[in-house]
């Protein structure tokens, strides 16, 4: 029998903590984006500040549980959205899982007019009101995708929903928003 080869015995090192950056250093990178999104969600600056503060404190307490500091953005936004949705005063956002269907795409007529000509003459306030009037299930994906430039996969991860559902909500949300803005534009005599 061959002698035991001690060199093959590997001592398992004692588990060492993940070398993670300081919480505050991770947080400051995303503060402005968290604030902007919170304002869009709550439609109120002071409430948004409170929402972001609560998010930061909960995130701080749970920072050790963050597996990959590189995914801090989606983790922070998940906390933000959970607090927002759980707020008793807010209507619960019903994210019914619904894949993007050809029927939904077919229902949207091809836009024949010059959107720049029509929509550029609308006021920022009018566009913001149209966005704010959307139900949360459409508004949230639009905020994250079109205003904060998130990918479909990132939005799906934050919302905890399949990409297909997010794609469907995004498409339908833009459709509703476009209809709303067309209605504003018609009232103004823009087309």
């Amino acid at each position: 029998m061959a002698p035991e080869r001690r060199s093959e015995l590997r001592l398992v090192p004692a588990s060492k903590p993940i070398d993670r950056p300081r919480f505050e250093d991770v947080l400051v990178e995303h503060l402005d984006s968290l604030y902007r999104t919170a304002v869009r969600l709550t439609r109120h600056r002071e409430v948004a500040e409170d929402l972001v503060q609560e998010t930061c404190l909960r995130a701080f307490r749970a920072y050790d549980q963050l597996e990959h500091p590189g995914s801090a953005r989606s983790w922070l936004f998940k906390i933000l959205l959970n607090i927002f949705r759980n707020d008793a005063k807010q209507q619960k956002t019903e994210f019914v899982d619904l894949e993007l269907s050809e029927a939904l795409i077919a229902s949207s007529p091809l836009c024949e007019y010059d959107q720049h000509v029509v929509f550029d003459r609308l006021l920022e306030d009018e566009v913001e009101k149209a966005l704010e009037s959307l139900p949360d299930e459409f508004r949230i994906p639009i905020i994250l995708s079109d205003l904060e430039d998130w990918t479909m996969a990132e939005i799906a991860e934050v919302l905890g929903r399949p990409s297909g559902t997010v794609a469907s909500r995004l498409f339908r949300g833009r459709q509703l928003l476009r209809e709303s803005l067309e209605s504003y534009a018609r009232r103004r005599g823009l087309f």
Binding site: L27, R121, R174
Partner: protein, 283 residues
């Protein structure tokens, strides 16, 4: 592959594995060759871009970052203290307990009684005060708060002005095609016109021009009567032919007057006398 199928595949968004996906590559080739699909996706991208430029990027207040970091620092201190306490023997903790010394208890009771009396008096005063004065003032209060809110929130926008210009004629012409009333911008003495924007108040389009007086921004609003429900009571002064209402909110002074069927409002952090002077002596 039909146009609808292509649109469904491409609208579903990209994943890192897409470069391997033959179906997705076919769909992308289709869009290059199909005029209708090409137009469809161009319009989607255009709409996204319009949304991004139209919807203001809201900037947080100056103290926001500090406040958040202070709150986190506070939380960090608390969790350190808690961690420290957990290591100490519990006997000493029990001795401290939650007993309130007798003297403190008496002072606390006195405070509660005093606070209750103040509350009762406040509620009584509210109920006893004449209603009509309150209701009239509240309409003006709402008007003042609306204008101040717009003045303050506009300052933190990334693009606070639609048109940056010191040329009165150019700005008036710009407004002329955008509102359904005649716009004649006042020229307050010793101020510099900076530019203007359109805003929406009470569902109506409102003209807003920004001036600088000694480097302090002054926002002028001009609107149709229907934009703000006003009731002329409260602090009114009649200066020349103008009947002016003055009030303040959130550190800003506001002067409102009516002229030729239009409502004018000036909002600024300038002092009341200075602002009334600007309103009075505008040519």
């Amino acid at each position: 592959m039909t146009c609808l199928t292509v649109r469904k595949i491409l609208l579903a968004g990209e994943t890192p594995q897409d470069y391997l996906d033959e179906q997705r590559m076919q769909a992308e080739r289709h869009v290059q060759d199909c005029a209708e699909c090409g137009q469809f996706f161009r319009k989607e991208e255009e709409f996204k871009l319009i949304m991004r430029t139209k919807v203001a990027r809201t900037l947080p207040p100056a103290s926001f970052r500090e406040n958040i970091l202070a709150a986190v620092a506070d939380e960090r201190r608390k969790s350190s203290v808690l961690a420290g306490r957990n290591r100490v023997s519990t006997k000493s903790d029990e001795a401290v307990g939650t007993r309130i010394p007798a003297a403190t208890s008496v002072r606390w009771k006195k405070f509660v009684i005093a606070a209750t009396v103040v509350m009762i008096l406040s509620v009584t005063a509210y109920l006893v005060l004449p209603r009509s004065a309150q209701e009239s003032d509240s309409k003006m209060d709402v008007a003042v708060r609306t204008l101040v809110q717009d003045h303050l929130s506009n300052r933190v926008r990334e693009h606070p002005l639609d048109l940056q210009t010191s040329d009165y004629v150019q700005l008036q012409q710009w407004f002329a095609s955008r509102v359904d009333f005649s716009v004649r911008l006042p020229r307050p003495q010793s101020t510099q016109l900076v530019g203007g924007r359109l805003c929406s108040i009470g569902g109506q389009r409102v003209v807003s021009a920004t001036y600088l007086k000694d480097s302090v921004p002054v926002t002028l609003y001009i609107m149709d009567r229907s934009a703000l429900a006003l009731s002329w009571s409260g602090e009114i002064a009649t200066i020349g032919e103008k009947r002016m209402y003055h009030s303040g909110s959130k550190g800003c002074n506001v002067v409102i007057w009516e002229e030729q069927g239009l409502i004018y409002g000036l909002v600024s952090e300038l002092g009341k006398e200075l602002l009334v002077g600007l309103a009075t002596h505008s040519s």
